[in-house]
């Protein structure tokens, strides 16, 4: 049985590798149900920005680089929105221990993002996120076209540049 699984996995993966050369359709957001700050259910596949690309940032209240990233983007968020119509979903992976801190932090920091709660890491797992911060850009077709992990000061400039390219319909890597 074990051998069978191993062989199956091997064939499966090689198939993918070969297949990837010929077809490059991008993956979309999964139908994972998470919660709004008010506790209402929201599906990740329903994230949208009126037909424009949007950004998803995974973060947690205990993750310093995440807060650095979110604070750095918040400084320019108003300008970015006016200029490009960008929208940022900030997905908190805080669990029951730190979740009560999300709402006060969000309002206290006055970020202006769409904050949602992924309390048991369902969306984090579905999107293959290892550690926060992890940032995605989803294009107008709902396809994930860009990802980045970690935060170093200045990364927010890269993000907005890439976002602008995606708005223009340019290929990004």
């Amino acid at each position: 049985m074990k051998k069978f699984i191993l062989i199956f996995v091997a064939i499966f993966l090689c198939g993918i590798t070969i297949n990837a050369q010929t077809n490059n359709k991008k993956s979309t957001l999964p139908t994972v149900t998470i919660n709004t700050l008010e506790g209402k259910a929201i599906k990740a596949s329903e994230f949208s920005n009126d037909g424009k690309p949007f950004v998803i940032c995974f973060w947690a209240t205990w993750c310093k680089p995440c807060l650095m990233e979110l604070n750095a983007m918040a400084e320019q968020y108003d300008d970015w929105q006016k200029e490009t119509g960008i929208k940022i979903y900030a997905v908190s992976i805080d669990d029951a221990r730190t979740c009560p801190k999300v709402k006060p932090l969000v309002s206290g920091s006055d970020w202006g993002y769409e904050v949602v709660l992924d309390q048991n890491s369902e969306l984090k797992r579905a999107l293959g996120v290892n550690n926060p911060p992890h940032t995605f850009i989803v294009n107008e077709k709902g396809e994930i076209v860009w990802q980045h992990v970690g935060y170093a000061p200045g990364d927010e400039e890269t993000l907005i540049e890439v976002y602008k390219k995606i708005v223009k319909g340019e290929e990004v890597k």
């Binding site: 191993l6 077809n23 993956s27 801190k101 309002s107």
Partner: protein, 566 residues
Amino acid sequence: MKKLLLAIFLITCSFNGFSQDIFGGKVTGNFQMDVQASKEDSIIGAEKVSEKLLMNAFTNILYTNGDFSAGMRFEAYLNPILGFDPQYKGAGLAYRFASYKKDYLEITAGNFYEQFGNGLIFRSYEERNLGLDNAMDGLKIIARPVKGVALKGVIGKQRYYWEKIWESDNFGLVRGIDAEVSINSLFKKFEASPLQIIAGGSFVSVFDKAEDRFIIEPSTGDNYKLTMPENIGSGAARLQMSYKAFNLNAEYARKGQDPNAVNGYIFHKGEAAYLSLGYAAKGLGINVSAKRIDNMSYKSRRGETGNMLNVNYLPALTRQHSYSLFAMYPYATQVNGEMGIQADIIYKLKKNTFLGGKYGTDLKLNYSIANSIDKKYVQLNPAGNYEGTEGYSSSFFKAGDEIYFEELNLELGKKLSSDFKLNLMYSYQTFNPIAIGHQGEKFIYANVFAADLTQKLKKRSSLRYEVQLLLTEQNYGEFAAGDWIQGTVEYNLGGKFFVAATDQWNYGKLNGEKVHYYNFAVGYTKGTTRIQLSYGKQREGIICIGGVCRMVPASNGLFATITSSF
């Protein structure tokens, strides 16, 4: 060996880029590998590693095609890195599932994670960096018959390292149902109401086959038979409300008779209550939480005492620190009984004001206290202990006379100019070593300080300087004593490379060597792939360098981490 080859194969396959296409569906996933080479260091308590090299690795492969998804996780611990339970040793498929999701119905067969409410009676989850995984293996159904109503049902057994859980009666069966109603989503006329109400309830039952236990009276040798309950039930009710800037989250749970190894086989019923009140306005956030836990260890095997087989989740109501000296005395929930309060105030001093300055200032205040509950022990059994008895009675609102943990901390974040950002933090902590199982040790009182300055350079590069200071007159365990100071310099180049040097110095140690815990790290990030290499001595705790936080065990040597998502 075969498994290792497979692991390497999976890894190489994984690096082909994002989301692959197969049979019209998508394949995504992630990967992490930690390699550790640690040498013996009796001064810091690092143990000899006979294998020379230790490795933890896993990869998740997820296949999605419309409403259908299936996935698996291959894990390899060859052998487990320091701090991980040796029972993880080995490799294999630790997690696999197939799932079908429609708007009104979700069915998952195989392994799954799930949480009811705040998790007081049921939470299946993983905390990879802690080596904690209580994934369920069985069936999960979620139905959403109408908008605003969610019904969940779960049945299965929990993961226990690599044990074949289905081939043994030693692992209990976990069954649970949960219902949640959002009043405002259910009734159209309340949809736009400023008062939002969500109510829920859940019931969980564990079936754990039991054998009778016997209590022996020492002088006469008489036997007293204890019949163990085989079905251990629990129930919880919860309410979440918000009205304009105010919000409330409350949950109350009870657990039936559950004599087990954690509570010393007493028949006292379990109880947990959680209440959180918040106020959130632009620039100001306040939250006050309170909880009471009474005999709430809930495992799917009554003889289990470790971190595995937990059916529920009882979080600590204290701040989770990311500065390492602030996290020197970590607090763990006392599942046999504790009550606590935590308060957070977050305030933003506005831009262009006298106190806020040109860019505004962020202030955070946090206070937490955890205390024992009142326990009146009622009767001893003939053997002179409490096994098989009710154990104790407890008055709900009365606190016990022992403090486990108390902390007050203040944090200030300020942008000084377009290139400089400063973060200052202070904390006063009181720590009772009994909370981590150290009986009869002195309380620890500590003042902890941190200053953290980030400087933006040209071309998206930056420098970060950090100083932390911990002042205490007490010793903590064998290797940490008295005062500590820590300095870190970190250089980020264009958001891709980083180099960091840290020295944590236990200069206040009176006897023995004043150890320098130095550490050098380099890292490289490209897209979703990150490689990090560090060399030095590591004290146990949370570490955040180069932009990512994770938990790390104590060691002396080399540590390499590769993470990737695809």
